[in-house]
């Protein structure tokens, strides 16, 4: 039964009607007299289900439809067509019982009152989410510990650093212990240390409460650290849904062999083993067709003075870039225009 999944999306479409306007005064006048509307297909026939406790990474370039999907799932937007169900609710009805069980964290929007201490927002949220006092105190203690909030709570929000603010935002968004989390770029603009902390926190929260999480991020490290499963969308269409590692295998036909030689090579040519990515001094990196990896590695070991060898998947960033390149090529072949939509 599909209803057993906390998140269930079927043939979801969200089109925006956007009126086009040429620049300049003439353009303004023209659009005043006759407006030209075009449909932008932000989400176009997307289906997936997500099981309880899963952390799923949402990947796609800017304007792919990630954020739109999250907004539909959290009830901010009415879908144009299709079905979206979250915890058995239809999000767009925005029932209080639904909103009390979910959260949407937007890296670029904040709910904390700028001129008041974060604690003030927490108290307001405790009231409007109807969190019982003892549960509020307990959750507050846990969040303070996990996110190291103690020194931040009584400072005016505007005096916090970006990273400190994001930690408080997360706390405000999770105070009611939501079962379903939509995290839209939660680490945007943060330094590497802070990114790692936020990541660890998301992981802890998932383990502690068994929450279901969808995460979008431009930082692949967020995705590789947290998500086994990824959903890749581009131009509103679903390109891939499945295991992150399987995606690499499916998309990248090569593996990367890194070798270190015990002595400089004298005249042996590396080209005959595979595509040389780099070679200097006693190090080299080669791309080997996936199927031939073990044969080639064995041959190299036998024929070359090798001190060390590692076989790796190509970097996931490259894999993802490849997915989008292939999609763009497929679109071009179908003769579709490649318009940029934010």
């Amino acid at each position: 039964m599909s209803n057993n999944f906390p998140i269930h999306v079927e043939h979801l479409c969200k089109y925006y009607s956007v009126h086009q306007k040429e620049s300049g005064l003439a353009g303004s006048l023209k659009s005043f007299v006759r407006r030209k509307y075009t449909d932008v297909k932000a989400v176009d026939d997307v289906s997936f289900t997500i099981g309880a406790g899963e952390i799923v990474g949402f990947l796609g370039p800017n304007g792919a439809g990630k954020t739109t999907t999250l907004k539909v799932l959290s009830g901010l937007l009415y879908p144009t067509r299709g079905v979206a169900r979250v915890l058995g609710f239809t999000p767009s009805e925005r029932r209080a019982a639904f909103l009390r069980q979910i959260t949407l964290v937007m890296g670029q929007k904040q709910q904390l009152s700028w001129d008041l201490p974060a604690l003030e927002t927490f108290l307001v949220n405790a009231a409007i989410y109807e969190i019982p006092d003892d549960q509020f105190k307990k959750t507050m203690r846990e969040l303070t510990e996990l996110l190291e909030l103690a020194p931040l709570l009584k400072k005016q929000v505007r005096k916090l650093s970006l990273g400190e603010r994001m930690k408080c935002e997360l706390a405000a968004a999770l105070l009611h212990r939501p079962q379903v989390l939509f995290l839209d770029e939660p680490t945007i603009g943060l330094d590497v240390t802070m990114q790692t902390k936020i990541r660890q926190f998301v992981c802890d929260y998932n383990e502690r409460y068994g929450a279901t999480i969808i995460l979008t991020s431009h930082y692949m490290a967020d995705v590789t650290a947290l998500c086994q499963r990824v959903i890749v969308i581009d131009h509103g269409k679903l390109l891939y849904d499945g295991d992150l590692r399987a995606l690499a295998e499916k998309i990248a036909p090569h593996k990367l062999i890194r070798v270190e030689f015990s002595q400089p090579l004298n005249g042996q040519r590396l080209e005959e083993y595979g595509e040389v990515v780099s070679a200097r001094d006693q190090h080299a990196e080669l791309l080997i067709p996936r199927d031939a990896t073990s044969d080639v590695a064995a041959r190299m070991l036998a024929q070359l003075p090798i001190a060390d060898v590692t076989i790796e998947e190509p970097p996931i960033e490259d894999v993802i870039t490849r997915v989008f390149e292939q999609a763009a090529k497929a679109r071009a072949e179908r003769g579709e225009k490649d318009e940029d939509e934010e």
Binding site: K71, L99, Q110, Q111, D115, V124, N125, I128, Y129, E130
Partner: protein, 262 residues
Amino acid sequence: MLRKYSALLRRAMGLMLEYRASIVIWMLTGVMPLVMLAVWFSLAEGGPIAGYSQNDFVSYYLLMTLVRQLTNVWVIWELDYEIRHGDLSIKLLHPINPIHEYIASHLADKAFRLWILVPLALVAWLIFPTIHYDVTPITLTLFFGALAAAWILRFLSQYCFGILAFWISQAITLNEIWFAGMLMLGGVVAPLDLFPDQVRVIANYLPFRFMLSFPVEIVSGRLTPTDLLVGSIAMIFWVAFFVVLYRWLWSRGIRQFSAFGA
């Protein structure tokens, strides 16, 4: 709901205190009735105008100033901005209708204003000891009811204009026209008694009267019991009308929301 409101009010009061200086400045923008008082005061030097003596004008406009201060609303500026910039998303995620968050911040503002207005009203009374109002238990009760209704009408009508921002980008301009109507036909430019009969007959039933003038009229002693009754019915009608209009517009607008900017 009580717990929610007390938390929302607490936060709103905290913000008010942060911005206390700007609120005092904002209050100064609501003194147009005093300007009109000066005008009518000097015009009435030669004798009463349409039954209004100089002292009547003072009584009328001082109370009008108070009513205007206590019923002022600015919700459209926030609502319009939040709709067009997508900031409304934050409020929509909360399991409470956003209107309550706006109401709470307006109530906090009123509490803050009372602090300043009560001493000022006492000073005004010392300066003009001759001002007089028709104060009986009935008129006083009606006055406070009408004062609350005036605020509700001003708030809801402005809220409805704000909701139009879901569709258009010039919602604030439309509201300005509405606001001008209130100054003209709500008893600020002149007491409604001073208008020609044909205008007054219509103005008596328009919503503008109940947004400012009606509470002042109630304690002016110029309304007959029939006037009071008919006025109260019209007032209740307009409140109900805007409640229904608000609900309808909101349920339509929210479908239109595109949550841009996030």
